[in-house]
């Protein structure tokens, strides 16, 4: 590296400008969570208080929405972990007619706009006379959660050499032992990362949820409703802070987990 690889001032300014543009609104959300003004957003906030945290903790509707979101995210993630891993194993491990097509079709739900997924699921549910419930939300979320888990798992399966499985069998391990002692340890971090990402995505999903929910209110839906009728506005901001923490931490963890997993090889060539 040469010593004159420092970026010019203009580029630095542009980078800071971009970051400011991206992050300032989020900082504002945090700031208004502590504002004393509850009816409107006023700049600068007239005063600061911690009382909204207490108010939020005391509101039953927040807890209900939060509980529903956690439940939906957890069940969708578990469903996705099972189905996504199995699909990834099939696509990465064996050759069969139409394999490439299947691997494309699996990824399609995340490439499609959420609104299309939402509409198609809604019409499918009403065609089949399935009443809208927590379970229809779970099904809706599972569509994109499976893709996330699948993508993580398939990449790791491809990096994990088939020779490792041969070696385990050769040394006397039956199918169950091979899975437990060799396959699972090699894909575990990828599954954990995929699961965390899936959980975070499900937790803040709005569009598909709007189409697949009955009168259930997940946390993002609750926030949307709160903004429409201004009452104890900073409560919404406190909840938003909580959502940021719940979604950002798993995503960061997933990023570091898959990064550490880079050297997990045993590669073919």
């Amino acid at each position: 590296m040469h010593s004159d690889n420092r970026s010019p001032l203009a580029l630095k300014l542009a980078a800071f400008g971009g970051l400011f543009f991206l992050l300032a609104p989020i900082a504002l959300i945090f700031l208004y969570a502590f504002s004393t003004e509850e009816k409107s957003f006023q700049w600068p906030p007239p005063g600061y208080t911690l009382k909204w945290i207490g108010v939020t903790l005391g509101r039953a509707d927040v807890w209900e929405a939060m509980a529903l979101s956690v439940k939906v995210a957890a069940i969708s993630t578990i469903l996705a972990l099972i189905l996504g891993t199995l699909t990834a194993a099939a696509v990465a491990r064996s050759k069969f007619f139409g394999r490439e097509t299947i691997s494309l079709l699996v990824i399609l739900p995340i490439a499609l706009p959420g609104i299309i997924t939402g509409i198609s699921l809604r019409s499918a549910f009403s065609l089949l006379d399935i009443p809208f419930s927590t379970w229809t939300i779970v099904l809706g979320h599972a569509t994109f959660c499976i893709v996330i888990v699948y993508n993580n798992a398939v990449a790791r399966f491809r990096r994990t050499s088939g020779a490792l499985i041969d070696a385990a069998m050769d040394l006397g391990a039956d199918g169950v032992q091979t899975f437990r002692l060799v396959i699972l340890p090699n894909i575990a971090t990828a599954l954990l990362a995929g699961g965390m990402l899936a959980f975070a995505l499900s937790f803040d999903e709005v569009i598909v949820t709007t189409f697949t929910a009955g009168n259930q209110t997940t946390l993002p839906i609750w926030m949307l409703e709160e903004l429409v009728r201004p009452r104890q506005r900073p409560v919404t901001n406190v909840v938003a802070m909580a959502v940021v923490l719940v979604t950002v931490l798993p995503i960061l963890a997933a990023y570091y987990l898959t990064k550490d997993g880079e050297h997990t090889a045993g590669s073919d060539k």
């Binding site: 041969d166 040394l171 391990a173 039956d174 060799v182 090699n186 050297h263």
Partner: protein
């Protein structure tokens, strides 16, 4: 004595591809057996058939007299050293070596002691706590070997085990493998595409091409008396000539003539030099004799004609080997 491995008319077809086609083979107990052939010749598929990763589409395989078709790899008393070692990346060296005992339910202390013993056998005592990724290619090779030996198999399969090593290390490992095999008295079945390696290490060699065995015999047999044009050409790059041009046999037959048996002789036949390569100990001449191309290895102390010049050559007809089969 029962043979270690026998194949009776064994085929493994993948759709229209005949990876292994009607192979008969018997590997004796305690011998170092090499399967030699170019890539795609069926040698690795044969190895995988013995290990149990592939099942034959026809024919019978027996391991020490016991029928092997349908027996999964984990129930066979056969262990493999894989081409790129296939060490488990999430385990250290000791756990890798002890894996075979772990899945059998051997206790931790006992299997770690056994693993240490196996590591000492391959001169890697004290490396147990290292990760596979921290080892050099040669060391990984030894770990893979120790891992394959821990279950005390009667047959050890080695799939191009030295392919990834550099020349010097390869020669050293060749010697060590040979020594180890003799000391343990085990049957080693060794797959390679390197003819020197096969000839120098094995008691017997099977030469494969296109899913079939071309010839089985001792290294000397295969080198001196190749059965087919393929064997003559693949093992030691012999000249393959029409028999009448070589001065033996009758028209329509083929003969093989080793390049080192061609000598410069003022009273010999005239050929044109088309290439001349100095290799140190020998000079390699590419010659054109009456439209037939020919290679000669001439000791470096002799003067050789230059490209485009004429060379007079001859050979001792006793050195020419007439091939039994046409193909």
């Amino acid at each position: 004595m029962t043979d270690a491995v026998t194949f009776q008319g064994v085929s493994r077809h993948f759709g229209p591809v005949k990876a292994v086609d009607a192979v008969d083979l018997s590997i004796r107990d305690g011998e170092f057996f090499a399967m030699l052939g170019p890539s795609g010749s069926g040698k690795t598929t044969c190895l995988r058939l013995i290990a149990g990763f592939e099942q034959p589409t026809a024919g019978h395989i027996a391991i020490f007299g016991e029928r092997a078709e349908g027996v999964p790899p984990y129930l066979r008393n056969v262990n493999t050293v894989f081409q790129n070692y296939a060490l488990f990346p999430h385990m250290n060296v000791r756990e890798n070596v002890a894996f075979g005992l772990r899945v059998k339910g051997v206790g931790k202390a006992e299997r770690h002691r056994a693993a240490e013993e196996a590591l000492e056998l391959v001169e890697l005592g004290g490396y147990g706590h290292r990760r596979a990724g921290e080892l050099s290619g040669g060391q990984r090779q030894r770990v893979a070997l120790a891992r394959a030996l821990i279950n005390k198999p009667r047959v050890v399969l080695l799939d191009e085990p030295l392919g990834a090593l550099d020349l010097k290390l390869r020669e050293q490992m060749q010697e060590e493998l040979r020594k180890l095999q003799r000391a343990l008295g085990l049957t080693f079945v060794f797959v390679t595409h390197d003819q020197d390696e096969a000839l120098s290490m094995a008691d017997r060699v099977a030469v494969f091409a296109e899913g079939k065995i071309q010839q089985i015999g001792t290294s000397e047999d295969i080198y001196r008396c190749p059965n087919t044009r393929f064997v003559a050409d693949f093992v030691g790059s012999s000249n393959v000539l029409p028999a009448d041009l070589a001065g033996v046999g009758r028209a329509g037959q083929w003969a093989s003539l080793r390049p080192e048996d061609v000598v410069l002789d003022p009273a010999g036949r005239e050929a044109t030099v088309t290439g001349r390569f100095f290799h140190g100990r020998v000079t390699k001449l590419s010659l054109d004799l009456a439209g037939q191309s020919l290679t000669a290895l001439i000791p470096a102390r002799e003067d050789t004609p230059d490209v485009g010049e004429a060379a007079r050559i001859s050979w001792d007809p006793a050195r020419v080997h007439l091939m039994e089969r046409e193909a």
